[in-house]
């Protein structure tokens, strides 16, 4: 189940490939769990933080989990990381997307744009999103 949410989240983030989109800003480098060695920057990695917990309320099953979304950019291009993070926030926060086996999923930002240096050459912007996927059981 958690893999379905991860897959749905990844599909949503890569779904808009238009000019000016998050996908275009990252050159399509949006990865599930980790990036391949020596991948060019900027890039984004989406990963699960907590296993989704299932709660049933009035004929609706809700799965609730936390996901970490990291953006890495070149350290010398620190100003662009904020622009890419804004695109991520706009694409995800409060948005509804499709997840296999569920009627829909909604993302809510719970921690936004905490930055740190990664290795010698990169800045990371780390955000956390709560994903609630729901499906009717009636």
């Amino acid at each position: 189940m958690s893999q379905q949410i991860t897959t749905g989240l990844h599909s949503h983030l890569t779904g808009d490939k238009s000019a000016g989109s998050l996908y275009a800003a990252l050159g399509g480098r949006i990865y599930d769990t980790f990036a391949p060695q020596d991948t060019q920057l900027p890039l984004m990695v989406v990963q699960k933080v907590t296993n989704p917990v299932t709660r049933s309320v009035r004929d609706v099953d809700k799965q609730d989990g936390t996901y970490q979304v990291d953006i890495y950019t070149d350290k010398d291009l620190g100003s662009s990381i904020g622009e890419i993070e804004q695109k991520l926030y706009d694409r995800l926060n409060g948005e509804t997307f499709e997840v296999a086996g569920h009627d829909r999923a909604v993302a809510t930002c719970i921690n936004r744009d905490r930055r740190n240096i990664d290795g010698d050459d990169a800045i990371r912007s780390m955000s956390e999103y709560r994903i609630q996927a729901s499906s009717s059981t009636s």
């Binding site: 769990t33 980790f34 699960k48 970490q68 990291d70 890495y72 290795g119």
Partner: protein
Amino acid sequence: MSVTVNWDGDDIKREFSRALAESVAAVTIDTQKEITDTLNRGSSNRGRTPSPPGSPPHRDTGALANSFQLTQKSQHTQHVSSPLVYAAVHEYGNRTHPARPYVRPSVEAVESRKGETIAPFVRDAVRRLM
């Protein structure tokens, strides 16, 4: 006829401040224990096989599990932290190493039972005021 009610606010503030301090201490200790338990639940890893991405790291020497310490920051604030550099690398990952979160799932577990954890201290405060 009239009735005068004297509301002793100082007593109430004192007792609930004490209950809050006791609650913070209890939740902090619970958090430290939950982190240690989460790390100790991982299978022993003398063979050095990494745990699956997204799940707590396997136990090797137990150094990480034993490294979390409590620090009192103020009457109502305590920190649980590890001085080990790789504590954060496991928790958050980096570009090429997936995160193996163990602190955030532990905090979530503590959050889900914090009502039960702090209830005795609130009850004691009320009892002392009766």
